[in-house]
Amino acid sequence: MGERMAVRKTYKLYVDGGFPRSESGRTFPFVSDDGSEVVQISRASRKDLRMAVRAARGALAGWRGRSGYNRGQILYRVAEMVEDRAATFAAQLELGGSSVSGARAEVAEAADLLVWYAGWCDKYVQVIGNMNPVAGPFFNISVPEPVGVVGMAAPSAPVLRGLVAGLAPVISSGNTAVVVAAPAQPMVAITLAEALATADVPAGVVNILTGFPEELAPWMAGHMDVNAVDLSGVHPEALSDLEEAASHNLKRTGRWESPDANLYRISAFTEIKTVWHPKGR
C-alpha cells in the first residue's frame, strides 16, 4: 500500500468567467520559498491581455448598471468566499515565505478589506457626489460614475492584501478590471479568482492574468480600450514609459504604496458627471 497520490490543481488564467490556459501555451515555474515545491503557472500573452480587455468591456454595461446595493452584496459574498478559502490562501502565502501567523493575518485583513469596500458600494456616491447650489433656477447635481475598464498591475507584497486593496475599490463603483498578478506568488491571485467566480461576480467583471508584468504592462498601458490603469505593482523605473503609453487615449493613472482601506481609491476611478435641469412651473 503506497501513499495516496494527491490530485493537484492546475493554475490557469481567469478570463470572462472561465479558467483558460494561455493561448500561447506558455507557462513559468513557481518555486516555493524553501525550494520544495514547483508549480507551473500560465504565462499570459499580449493576446490573452486583449481577450481579457474584451471580456472586461463586454461586462461593463451590466456591472455598472447594477445597483450599488447589489454590488455591495456581491463584494460581501467575495469576502465570504475568501474567508472560506482562508486555509488555502494561508498555505499559499506560506509557500511564498510568509510566517504562519503572518499569512493568517493577511487573509483576515483581505477579507475585512472586502467587507469595508462592500459597504462603500451604496455610499460612496453620497460622500463624493453632491448638489451644487448654482445661482439660478436649476437643479444641478454632480455624481461619480465608473471610468470604465481599469487595468491593474498588482503589487507583489503583501500579495493578497495588495491585490484586494486594488481590485475592490475599482469594481465597487461599477468598473470592470483586468489584473496582471504579481509573478512572485501567482497562485494566490488564481485562488482569489476562484473566490470571485463563486461569489456571483458576473463573468468578465474581473479578469486575472498571471505572467510577467514587464511583458504585459506596456500593452495594457497602451491599449486603446482600457480607460484607466492602477500601476501600484510596477517597478518605479518603469512608470515613466507606462504613463507615456497611457497618454494615447489619456488613460487615468494611479499608483498607491499602501494596501490600506482608502475611499479615494474608489473616486480615483470615477468621473464626475454634472446634470443640469431647469426648475419652473
Binding site: V127, F139, L263, H277
Partner: protein, 493 residues
Amino acid sequence: MVRHDALAPRPGTGPPMWEYQESRENPDLAGIRDRSGLWIDGEETEPLSGKWFSTIDPATEEHLSMVAEAGPADVERAVGAARDAAAGWAAMPATERAKSLFRLARLVQERSRELAVMDTRDGGKPIREARDVDLPLVAAHFFYHAGWADKLEYAFPGAEPRPMGVVGQVIPWNFPLLMAAWKVAPALATGNTVVLKPAETTPLSALRLAEVAAEAGLPPGVLNVIPGAGETGAELVGHRGVDKVAFTGSTQVGKEIRRRLAGSGKALTLELGGKGAHVVFEDAPLDQAVEGVVNGIFFNQGQVCCAGSRLLVQESVAPEFVDRLRRRLSTLRVGDPLDKNTDIGAINSAAQLQRITELVESGQEEGALIYQPPCELPERGFWFPPTLFTDVSQSHRIAREEIFGPVLSILTFRTPAEAVERANNTPYGLASGVWTSKGSRILWMADRLAAGVVWANTYNKFDPASPFGGVKESGFGREGGRHGLAAYLRGVG
C-alpha cells in the same frame, strides 16, 4: 393552437375573465410560540411585572401568543442591560461591529419568509407586501447601515462622531419589523445600545429579531426588546438611563414625549403623522398616476404615516381621473392577508377600525360624497373597504386629520400655485407626490412643497440610502441615508 379556458371571453362579460384561485401562504411558517417573553441581556426572560397579554391575528381575531408586558422593573432591567453593554459595544473595533451587523443582515435574508408570515399574521398586512416590501427592506437596512459602522468619519467631515449611549426606541404597528430595522440598524451601527418597545398589537417579529441578532453574535444587552403598551413606552422614554429617544407614531404622542423630555437633556427624534398630498397635473401620465395614487393610499391598508391620503387633481382632468380611479378600485382584492392575491388586508386592530369608521362617518356627515366598490368583507376580523371621497372641502375633518386607513379624500385645483397652497395647508409635512410629465415643474413643486419627502411620478418608495422624515408637525430627524446617522451620534449636530 390551444386556447386556455380561463382566458376565453365569456358570453356577455366583455373583457376576458379569470378564475380566482386562492394561493395561501402556510401560516405555520411563522413559528409563533405559545408564550413570548421579554428579550433582555441576550435572553428571553419572564416579566417581573408578572403581566402577560394576548396578541391576536386581526384577520381572524384568533389568539396567537401570550406576550410578556414590561413594567417599570422590567424597563429598569432592560435599560440596565443596555447601559452595561454600551461601553463594550462602543469600544468594539468598528469593523467588527460592522461585520456583526452584516451577519445579522444575512440571517434576516435567510429567515425572511418566516418573518414575513409572522408580520402578516400578527399585523394583518398582505403577505405580498410583507414578503416583497417589508422584509427585503429590513435586510437592506441592516446591510446598508452595517457598512456605515466603520465609515462614520466620512459621513461627517470635520466632526468627531461619538455614540449617544443607550437609545430608547418606540415603534408603531404598521410595519412591525421594518420600523424595528429603521430604528435598530442605525442605532447599533453608530455604536449605541438599544431598548426597543414594539407596539402592543405587533410585538412578535421584534422579539424574533432579537433572537436572530443573538444568533448573529451580537453581545448580550446590545439589543433589548420589551413589549408593552403606552405605559411601557412612557416608562422607557422617561427613564434616566436613556440618553436618546427615537419615536415613530402619532403626532399627539410625539408631542407628549417632547413635553416629557423637556429639560432632560435627552436627544430626541420623532417620525410622526402625515396627511400626504398627491398633486396630479393635467399633463400627467394618467394611468400611471392612477396606479401611484392607489398604491399611495391603499398600500398597507392606508396605515402608513406617509400615505397619500389627499388627492389634489387639476380641475381639467378631475372627472376623467376620478372615473379611472373608481374603475381601478373595483379590481382590488380585499381579504385574507395570507392569500398571495390579496391587495388589501386586515385593519390592524378593533381600535383602529373604530377610528377609521368614525372619521369616514364624519366625512359623510360633513357633506362629502363617498364611493366604495362592491366587495365582500370576511365576517370575522377587522376590515374596511377601499374608500374614495369626492366633493371634499379643505375644512372637512377627512381633509385635515390623519385617518390611517384606506380612505382617499379628493380635492381639485386650477394652478400650480393653488396646488402648492392646498398641499401645504396642513400642520403635517411628511411626504408629497407630484404627477406631471414636465420635469421643470416637478422641481419647481419640490422646492415649494413643505414635506420631508417628495415623490415625483412615483410614490411610497423607500431605500435605506435615502433619508426619510418630516417637517412641521410630522416630526424631526431623518431615518436612512447619510443624514439619518446624525440621529444617533453626538458631535454632529
